[in-house]
């Protein structure tokens, strides 16, 4: 994967710094839950089946909009708060960035903060499917822009 867009890299560093203060598993999750409570979420009106990510235990909704500046704007939500925290982190790192940068992002921050397992496609929280959707949307947009 190519080097990250500086914007996306900077945001990942920010998240990593944020989590650096927690070495206990439970503290990290406590923080994640707080994030989940704070994060701006998708419009209730858009929580429809067409924005639902299928096949996961906790439901995840994702909406993508392309802004006038060519960036992609994401909003998301989940009915499980931990998933919502994770989903929020993803939005925080990827939203409002150039389409190509999103499509090609190397999301190393989950590894660095010790939450990598949640991105496993075998995990049933839907995060992996959501990231895939984000990339697909961005890639399609980047292709149109090119």
């Amino acid at each position: 994967m190519a080097e990250n867009h500086p914007l996306i890299e900077a945001r990942q560093q920010e998240v990593i710094a944020d989590f650096a203060v927690f070495d206990d598993w439970m503290d990290k999750y406590e923080h994640l839950i707080e994030l989940g409570k704070d994060i701006p979420t998708i419009d209730e009106a858009r929580k429809t089946d067409s924005h639902l990510i299928k096949g996961c235990q906790s439901r995840v909704w994702l909406a993508a909009d392309s802004a006038a500046d060519g960036n992609v704007h994401f909003t998301a939500d989940s009915d499980a708060i931990i998933t919502k925290g994770l989903v929020g982190l993803m939005v925080q790192v990827l939203s409002d960035a150039p389409a190509r940068a999103i499509a090609e992002a190397d999301l190393h921050f989950l590894d660095a903060i010790g939450l990598h397992q949640h991105l496993s496609p075998t995990r049933s929280n839907g995060l992996a499917s959501m990231v895939q959707q984000m990339r697909l949307y961005a890639a399609a947009l980047a292709a149109r822009q090119a």
Binding site: M26, Y29, E30, Q57, S58, I81, I82, T83, N125
Partner: protein, 410 residues
């Protein structure tokens, strides 16, 4: 509490129980999904692979003979354990799911037709629903469900009414529910279904690890179960069927072992159980399944059952005191399964935070979506499930972990 000495005696048989997760001692309460394996099973499988592995049947050499005897010995142990009149009636399958599919595809395709009904219950595992839906769709028959009461018991009124209303060809139900723990009155259900002219299939996946099983006393026509939930290996289970019914059924899978003679002019099939066991079987699995049964019998199935009954009572007490916890499934007769929900909190969050404290539970619909839907629990439940080695102390740890998770989430 009663029988609390059982885990002391047997925990050392299970090496995995010594491990930690996330730096905490493992508390494994996901036994209804799959049980852990005693050393007798682990080492028996290893001994087989290290010392007498060979392909079985038709082999003239010594290793083939040893392997065949051990594998067929596994079959005999299963047969004896479930009170089967004859070991040839025990068909090894890849698990319960494979066994139900065998009946649905072989018996079903030959016997179901347009307008026929297969009766199941709303507490069935997908394994006892989807195979019936698939064959029914293929032949124009229909799957009808029997209702379940709020407390997790089967609605017997609805059961009898459905027998009357649908005159089903087949009635299929769990011996014990994997989500609710409910033990069904299987002998009564079989009698009523037979009286109504139906065949019966009992899904014993959650009974084999917990209860004494006697297919003759139950009076069913088919009984299925899976080894991995009963201290045995993965990839193997069985179908028991009444001999005359099995004899009349066409084979399902074709290949080696299940034939008597093959030619392009016409192929003839082998006798039971081989007719239904095409290809090289899961030899080490059959042997280790037998060892798991030996292990259970050595401990005593009744001892295990009594221990688990007291664990369920203990868990109900410990969990009910937690604010907001609602136990799903309070039938008077239960196997070692306790499902719960907390209103406004997603089970996945609870499960994840308990995992962080070393406690392995399962969350979600437990492959019983229609039941969850019926009970209005669209996010599923959090399920703790017990085994012979589970201790009251572990339930305390789980309850404390749940309490901490709740505190974090509120």
């Amino acid at each position: 509490m009663a029988n609390s000495s059982l885990p002391d005696r047997i925990r050392r048989d299970f090496p995995i129980l010594e491990r930690e997760v996330h730096g905490k001692p493992l508390v494994y309460l996901d036994n209804a999904a799959s049980a852990q394996k005693p050393l007798a099973v682990i080492e028996g499988q290893r001994e087989y692979l290290s010392n007498y592995h060979a392909n079985i049947h038709r082999g003239a050499h010594q290793l083939a003979q040893l392997a065949t005897e051990a594998f067929e010995g596994g079959r005999r142990k299963v047969a004896e354990h479930i009170g089967a009149p004859n070991a040839a009636e025990v068909i090894f399958t890849a698990g319960s799911t494979d066994a139900v599919n065998l009946v649905a595809q072989s018996w079903g395709r030959a016997n179901l037709s347009q307008g026929d009904v297969v009766l199941v219950t709303r507490m069935e595992h997908h394994a006892n629903i989807v195979p019936w839906q698939m064959i029914c769709e293929a032949v124009g028959a229909k799957v009808e469900p029997v209702n379940v009461h709020e407390d997790g018991t089967l609605d017997l009124g609805d059961f009898h009414a459905a027998l009357e209303r649908f005159s089903p060809k087949m009635v299929a139900f769990v011996h014990a529910s994997n989500t609710l723990g409910t033990i069904n009155p299987v002998a009564d259900l079989c009698r009523a279904a037979s009286d109504a002219g139906a065949l019966t299939l009992v899904d014993g996946s959650q009974a084999l690890p917990h209860l004494t099983i006697d297919v003759k006393a139950i009076g069913c026509d088919f009984y299925v179960a899976t080894a991995h939930k009963a201290y045995g290996p993965t990839g193997i289970g069985f179908l028991w069927g009444r001999r005359a019914i099995l004899e009349a059924m066409p084979p399902w899978r074709g290949g080696g072992e299940m034939i008597q003679s093959v030619s392009f002019d016409g192929t003839t099939y082998n006798t039971l159980p081989h007719k239904f066991e095409a290809g090289t079987p899961h030899i080490s699995g059959g042997i280790a399944f037998g060892l798991a049964i030996d292990w259970m019998r050595g401990v005593g199935v009744e001892t295990i059952a009594a221990h688990e009954r007291s664990l369920v009572a203990y868990a109900h007490n410990a969990l009910e005191t937690l604010k907001g916890v609602r136990i799903i499934g309070t039938a008077p007769e239960k196997v070692g399964v306790v499902s719960l929900v907390v209103d406004g909190i997603h089970p996945y969050d609870l499960g994840t935070l308990m995992d962080g404290q070393g406690v392995a539970v399962r969350t979600g619909h437990h492959c019983t979506e229609p039941l969850m839907h019926h009970l209005g629990l669209e996010s599923g439940t959090l399920r703790m499930s017990f085994a012979a080695y589970t201790t009251p102390r572990e339930i305390d740890v789980a309850a404390a972990a749940l309490a901490r998770a709740l505190a974090m989430l509120r």
